[in-house]
């Protein structure tokens, strides 16, 4: 009888695990592409991180500040799902799978839906928005995002009268996102990451869903394939790698508020007058511009977007609603 024992199989015939996984991935993608139909099928091939995005309009809402270098934007990231060190996301998100990707649109809307990335590309014309990004840790960047106004999507979904807030959720996949491992093995937050906006904040023309930056599809470490950008709020409000957008009546309990309600508030508007317990918010360091020996620059109210957003908070005590 000829039954090959394991030692009889020559090493050369054993498929390396990586290649084996690649095959499976290829088969899965091929099946998904076939299912998505011919036109849409072309899109996922281009929607890989780093590929050029065609037909992008410039936006008058862009700042004239000089954009931070591509290298700094893609190597200095707070994306705790991939580790809490700034250099972790670029390393650990390298093989992050962003295709196929479904965003579930649900809650208080008349037209709940599940969108693939292709659906966003099909429905919403993309623009370049060069925005300042102010991190709660007192540093800032200028990022040329590519995206579309969130309100274009919201209008399409037709929120009901009970929709007062929008809740966003990041993918939860500890296998791919080592920071999501439980307890002390991970980056120490309650996963999945949840963020939220008031509906009028979400409807503000400055609020965008971004699919790329610097003319290309979103690098994984920056929140591929789709993320929120709210330029007048601290960076952590701009949730990454979104899988769910839910319209709700009550303010969502967001991740950082849950982790530390004394230090983080629901609004988290950039406000030089309200300090974070660990950082003065009066000033900031602009990544890549200030030299070792230059003092920090003054932080502007609402990160310099007061003209567009201050009216949202008229009559509110922003020290209390920080």
């Amino acid at each position: 009888m000829l039954i090959a024992r394991p030692s009889d199989i020559p090493a050369s015939e054993i498929t390396p695990r990586e290649i084996y996984l690649q095959r499976r991935r290829f088969l899965k993608e091929a099946a998904a592409i076939a299912a998505a139909g011919a036109t849409a099928a072309l899109l996922p091939c281009v929607a890989e991180a780093g590929q050029k995005i065609p037909n992008v309009k410039k936006s008058p809402l862009s700042t004239t500040d000089k954009p931070t270098s591509h290298k700094d934007i893609t190597s200095y990231n707070n994306f705790y799902e991939f580790g809490s060190d700034k250099s972790d996301p670029a390393r650990h998100a390298r093989n992050f799978r962003t295709f196929p990707w479904t965003v579930s649109l649900e809650g208080e809307i008349k037209k709940p839906a599940k969108y693939q990335i292709e659906d966003f590309l099909k429905h919403f014309p993309l623009e370049e928005r060069v925005y300042r990004l102010r991190c709660v840790e007192a540093w800032s960047m200028v990022v040329p995002w590519i995206g579309f106004p969130l309100r274009d999507l919201i209008r399409r979904l037709e929120p009901t009268s009970r929709a007062k807030y929008v809740e966003f959720t990041t993918l939860h996949d500890p296998e791919q996102m080592p920071g999501q491992k439980p307890g002390l093995f991970g980056a120490g937050l309650d996963w999945p990451y949840v963020e939220g906006l008031r509906l009028d904040e979400a409807m503000n023309p400055l609020t965008i869903l971004a699919l790329g930056l610097y003319g290309e599809f979103m690098p994984n470490q920056n929140g591929a394939p789709i993320r929120l950008v709210v330029p007048w709020k601290y960076g952590f409000k701009s949730i990454k790698s979104i899988v769910k957008i839910r319209f709700v009546e009550q303010p969502p309990l967001t991740t950082w508020v849950k982790a530390n309600p004394r230090e983080y508030g629901f609004y988290s508007n950039v406000n030089p007058g309200v300090d974070h317990p660990r950082w003065s918010q009066a000033s900031e360091r602009r990544i890549g511009e200030d030299s070792l020996f230059s003092p920090k620059r003054k932080t502007l109210m609402f990160n310099g977007y007061a003209e567009q957003v201050a009216s949202l908070y008229a009559g509110m005590d922003l020290k209390k609603h920080f």
Binding site: Y76, S84, G186, G188, R278, W279, S280, A282, P295
Partner: protein, 207 residues
């Protein structure tokens, strides 16, 4: 145990090794290799080395007790002074590069931000230890008082670790590694003193 000739080499060797982190930092600075936020890198890097040298210094006594190699004591002062040296760099990096000597901002930080309060206090406590580290000072203070004063280093170690622990936003892994090492080093001392005092009694100082 090494021969006297090797002893003579260990000290300068250790001195040079202790300067390697600084040399590496200078090399990276000159080559523009401090990352997107160089000042944060400098702060973190120098802070890391303060903690490391504190831990190394606190390892001398347990190691001496465990190995019986009393010659280790010769290097303790130098290691402690290197902790102080990196603490000075850390402080300078904060006061100069981070705050650009904005005194009111610095004072507000020290008063309002617990992690800075505890870090600053630990730095202040290091100063008398550095000042009284000379042989002359040991003689002037008397061994007993000198030793009492230098027990401050336990609080400095705890302060340093708490400083790091309170600085991080949610990922406690790295500071907890330092906390575990420190707990081990201080725990050894507690265990050892309980152990040896019982021995003292047992060996019959009481008639």
């Amino acid at each position: 145990m090494p021969s006297p000739a090797i002893h003579k080499l260990i000290k300068p060797g250790l001195f040079i090794v202790a300067l390697v982190p600084l040399a590496w930092l200078i090399y990276r600075t000159v080559n523009n290799d401090l990352g997107a936020n160089p000042i944060e890198t400098l702060n973190r890097y120098t802070g890391d080395w303060v903690l490391r040298f504190l831990m190394i210094t606190l390892t001398v006594t347990p190691l001496r007790r465990l190995t019986g190699w009393n010659g280790l004591l010769r290097y303790r002062r130098m290691l402690g002074l290197f902790a102080f040296f990196y603490a000075c760099l850390h402080f300078l990096s904060y006061v100069w590069l981070d705050q650009f000597f904005a005194l009111s901002e610095i004072l507000r930080d020290v008063a309002k931000r617990p992690y800075i309060t505890v870090g600053f206090t630990s730095f202040l406590m290091l100063i008398p230890l550095a000042v009284t580290s000379t042989s002359g000072m040991i003689r002037r203070l008397g061994a007993r008082r000198w030793q009492q004063l230098h027990r401050l280093v336990y609080f400095i170690g705890i302060g340093g670790v708490v400083h790091f622990l309170w600085l991080v936003k949610s990922d406690l892994r790295e500071p907890l590694v330092y906390a575990a090492i420190l707990a081990l080093l201080l725990g050894f001392r507690i265990w050892n003193s309980a152990h040896s005092s019982r021995n003292t009694v047992a060996s019959g100082t009481v008639p």
